[in-house]
């Protein structure tokens, strides 16, 4: 009898537990887009997602039901009011990332926008098949336009030096401009811009970004994950179905009829050029990316596209083509999850069409096609083409040093030719020539244009820790800056910014060589740190002023000068340093013996290994073979109406709102310190 109350108590406890068990089983929202701290941590600040009035974006939620259940309905609310638009639902029976259960639902509303400025809360409410409900809340801001103090800008030119931090800019100035008793003899064009600020470059998922969010932060106002462009992350494997964010180009084309120009020395499918027009979570999906350049040109206003990457534009059967169905895009017309992209964004549905001849399609759509510098000149002569496609290399264009050597007739190759001969493209334009052609074409647009010009191989050569090649690429980039500045001076209606997506390699200007070039060559033969570091690296006053002679073509006559500038790397991988320009053809003459088989090999997963050359080993801080991006802030310089809005320490996403303000409502700051509405014609500070 004594036990009965205990049994009852135990039974009650068991029943309570069982009831509690089923109450704990509930559907859960595992992702809510746009991303917010409100959703992730409960804190309302900092606000992650911000939009312009009327800027389009997608709402999305990933909802995990209990085992054996399904999500039967979902809806979104903004500021407590249900969103009046189709909610596309899909499950994860296939096509979702690993670890997501098959019954997980993804609910999406495409292309929504708000006009009302201020903080907005949004939520998803979902219902499970057993009737249980779940909801989750996030937030975002709509940033209001400010009252203008100055004119609207007609054109925006964004010059982006990929990987170009303060050290890269300084090195280019030292090489190109020269110093006399501490004063610069000839400043870089970007040195003469009246406003400079510092930009914080982190991405949505790291302090160290890459070129995808490094570009899209500037032109969408929102952080993206590394490797993703113009989209927020999702839980599907499809690279093209992610929640989108409207680009500056799309917004200004839609609301003002502005045209878009993209100019780069890289393969045009690369992240920086693509991150102005294409929405994808896979920056490597080349076929789909270039297809979308063309298919969505009425959304972006794409009018000029110049760079490398011809391999993506050739039909798959043409030798040299890289097109493949595996990285193409195609939206299902029946599955609402992607059909709504077509319907609500007005995007093209796409198709797996590797045999497509994109060059011909561009031409049929009225784009003049230029495969060489000669053709580019012809395309812009006289009245000039109205729309321009230039594809000057199969992948990246050759770097400035190699293009200039080609023009100077420097021939050191296996076949007795120059680098550009060996690549089969001896007539490639320089970036400033491409910039001129782009501006000549775009300035005919009555509603104005957005133009992005990228010096792409500053970064690529900094990864290689190839100092001379990135220095010359920075000089080439500055020549393009000069072209943009000269154009902006013509009518005073163009805002020009010079910036970088991130810094690359932790480049440091450590000093000057204490040796002549010949003595340096002799030291390399002696090998080791004692000969190649201690006797070479002149620090402090021993650095002096390295003097490079500039040829009439605007580039150094030689990079292997006596008492050259020396660059160290803070984000370097292991490398052997002899301080000399990587002229491997000279190594050929030093190594007349060509090596043959047998080749060394290792089982898979062993680290690659090379014979140590016995030179001066600089041990890397980072693993692997290449220097990496750093988290360091980068300088941004501005010229034109409203330039002085670009001062202070700003987030890269802030830049988007400043650009939009200038184009939509008008400048909120003067062009320069004189308060003049039109920037002064004369060159300014040294």
């Amino acid at each position: 009898m004594k036990h009965l109350p205990s049994l009852n108590a135990a039974a009650c406890a068991l029943m309570a537990l069982a009831a509690a068990g089923s109450a704990f089983a509930a559907p859960a929202v595992t992702r809510l887009t746009p991303p917010s701290e409100r959703f992730s941590s409960g804190r309302p600040e900092p606000v992650i997602a911000r939009f312009l009035p009327g800027q389009r974006f997608d709402l999305q939620a990933t909802i995990k039901p209990d085992a054996g259940q399904r999500i039967t309905a979902a809806r979104f609310l903004v500021d407590g009011k249900p969103v009046d638009a189709t909610v596309a639902m899909r499950d994860c029976a296939s096509g979702c990332v690993k670890g997501i259960s098959a019954e997980t639902a993804i609910a999406t509303v495409r292309a929504m926008s708000l006009e009302k400025a201020g903080r907005h809360e949004f939520s998803v409410e979902a219902t499970q098949s057993d009737g249980q409900k779940v909801s989750a809340t996030g937030n975002f801001d709509v940033i209001p336009f400010a009252a203008a103090m100055g004119p609207k800008v007609k054109n925006i030119i964004i010059l982006l030096g990929d990987g170009m931090g303060a050290a890269q800019r300084t090195a280019a100035r030292i090489v190109k401009g020269g110093y006399a008793q501490g004063k610069v003899i000839q400043p870089l064009a970007m040195d003469t811009f009246p406003a400079t600020g510092l930009v914080k470059t982190s991405s949505l998922n790291s302090i160290v970004t890459d070129s995808s969010p490094g570009m899209t932060s500037y032109v969408s106002g929102n952080k993206n994950n590394n490797n993703e462009e113009g989209v927020f992350p999702d839980d599907t494997v499809d690279a093209f179905d992610n929640p989108r964010i409207e680009y500056l180009s799309e917004y200004l084309h839609r609301t003002q009829g502005k045209a878009l120009g993209i100019v780069t020395t890289a393969d045009v499918f690369d992240a920086t050029p693509a991150g102005n027009a294409v929405h994808t979570s896979n920056r490597g999906a080349g076929t789909g990316i270039v297809d979308q350049f063309f298919d969505d040109r009425s959304r972006t206003g794409l009018t000029v596209l110049l760079g490398g990457g011809r391999k993506w534009f050739l039909p798959a059967g043409t030798p040299g083509s890289e097109r493949a169905d595996g990285n193409d895009y195609a939206f299902s017309p029946t599955d609402a999850h992607t059909a709504e992209i077509v319907k609500r964004w007005g995007a093209a549905p796409g198709a797996k069409d590797k045999d497509r001849d994109l060059i011909k399609e561009f031409q049929a759509a009225g784009y003049r096609y230029a495969p060489t510098k000669t053709e580019l000149d012809a395309a812009t002569a006289g009245a000039g083409a109205d729309k321009l496609l230039g594809l000057f290399a199969f992948s990246n264009m050759n770097v400035a040093l190699d293009k200039i050597d080609g023009r100077r007739g420097v021939k050191q190759g296996l076949a007795g030719g120059s680098v550009v001969d060996d690549y089969g493209f001896p007539d490639q334009p320089m970036l400033d020539e491409m910039a001129k052609a782009a501006i000549a074409t775009l300035k005919k647009q009555s509603k104005g244009f957005v133009l992005m010009i990228e010096g792409a191989s500053i970064d690529k050569q900094a990864h290689n820790m190839d100092s001379e090649r990135w220095m010359l690429d920075t000089i080439e980039f500055d020549r393009a800056v000069q072209v943009a500045q000269d154009f902006a001076r013509e009518n005073g209606d163009t805002l020009v910014i010079v910036t970088a997506d991130h810094e690359c390699s932790g480049a440091a200007l450590i000093g000057g060589s204490m040796l002549t070039d010949q003595a340096l060559r002799d030291a390399a033969a002696k090998k080791g740190a004692a000969n190649l570091r201690d006797k070479v690296v002149g620090v402090y006053e021993k650095a002096g002023f390295p003097r490079y002679r500039i040829a009439t073509d605007g580039y150094p006559e030689a990079t292997d000068i006596d008492y050259r500038l020396l660059v160290g790397y803070g984000a370097n991988a292991d490398r052997y340093e002899d301080w000399r320009t990587n002229q491997t053809p000279l190594r050929d003459s030093q190594q007349p013996m060509v090596k043959g088989e047998p080749l060394k090999w290792y089982p898979a997963n062993a680290a690659e290994r090379d014979d140590a050359q016995g030179e001066f080993l600089v041990t890397g801080q980072v693993p692997g073979e290449q220097a990496v991006h750093t988290a360091t802030d980068v300088p941004l310089s501005a010229f034109g109406p409203g330039a002085l809005a670009f001062t202070g320490v700003m987030d890269n996403t802030d830049v988007f709102f400043k650009l939009a303000q200038a184009a939509v409502k008008g400048a909120t700051a003067p062009a320069d310190g004189s308060g003049a509405k039109h920037p002064a014609k004369a060159a300014q500070t040294r």
């Binding site: 190759g413 990587n582 050929d588």
Partner: protein
């Protein structure tokens, strides 16, 4: 052009059958490259399926893949993580493949000019990650050392000398 037969005659029998043809990158196609794609030369087409000897530079990769490497007329470095397929490979790049029984092996990078002998294959081929190649050199098993090299320390990298 018609797709090339990828099942080429075995490398070994080709090498026994005839002396390898000396081939140069500059012979591959019409250069300068025209406005669109590559125009493969008769020399290249004629060498398809035959044993050839080719001199070039091994591409220095950041993320070497087992069983293959690239050979180019100029030394090239790749930053696959940062650049993906926005790379500095020329159109004349040859994809060098190890013998099928050796596809799990990582080939050590070698600086400077290298001469390789193998069976040439020409035509479009897509590998397992979707990368397209047009010119491939199939190496025989004896292209590799008989033994693996002394085991390197596992990643992170140790003292590689990539003096490019």
């Amino acid at each position: 052009m018609p797709p090339a037969a990828l099942a080429a005659p075995s490398a070994e029998s080709s090498l026994n059958a005839a002396a390898p043809v000396d081939l140069r990158f500059s012979q591959f196609f019409k250069s300068p490259i025209g406005p669109a794609g590559l125009e493969l030369s008769d020399t290249l087409r004629g060498a398809a399926g035959r044993a050839v000897r080719l001199m070039g530079y091994m591409v220095a990769q950041e993320q070497a893949r087992p069983g293959r490497f690239w050979l180019t007329p100029r030394p090239v470095r790749m930053s696959e993580h940062a650049d993906g397929q926005a790379d500095d490979l020329p159109a004349a790049t040859v994809t060098v493949l190890l013998d099928t029984a050796q596809r799990e092996r990582l080939v050590a990078h070698r600086d400077g000019l290298v001469t390789l002998t193998g069976t040439l294959s020409v035509g479009r081929a897509e590998d397992e990650i979707g990368r397209v190649s047009w010119i491939r050199l199939q190496l025989p098993p004896d292209a590799l050392q008989a033994q693996p090299s002394d085991a390197a320390e596992p990643a992170p990298a140790d003292g590689h000398g990539h003096r490019h």
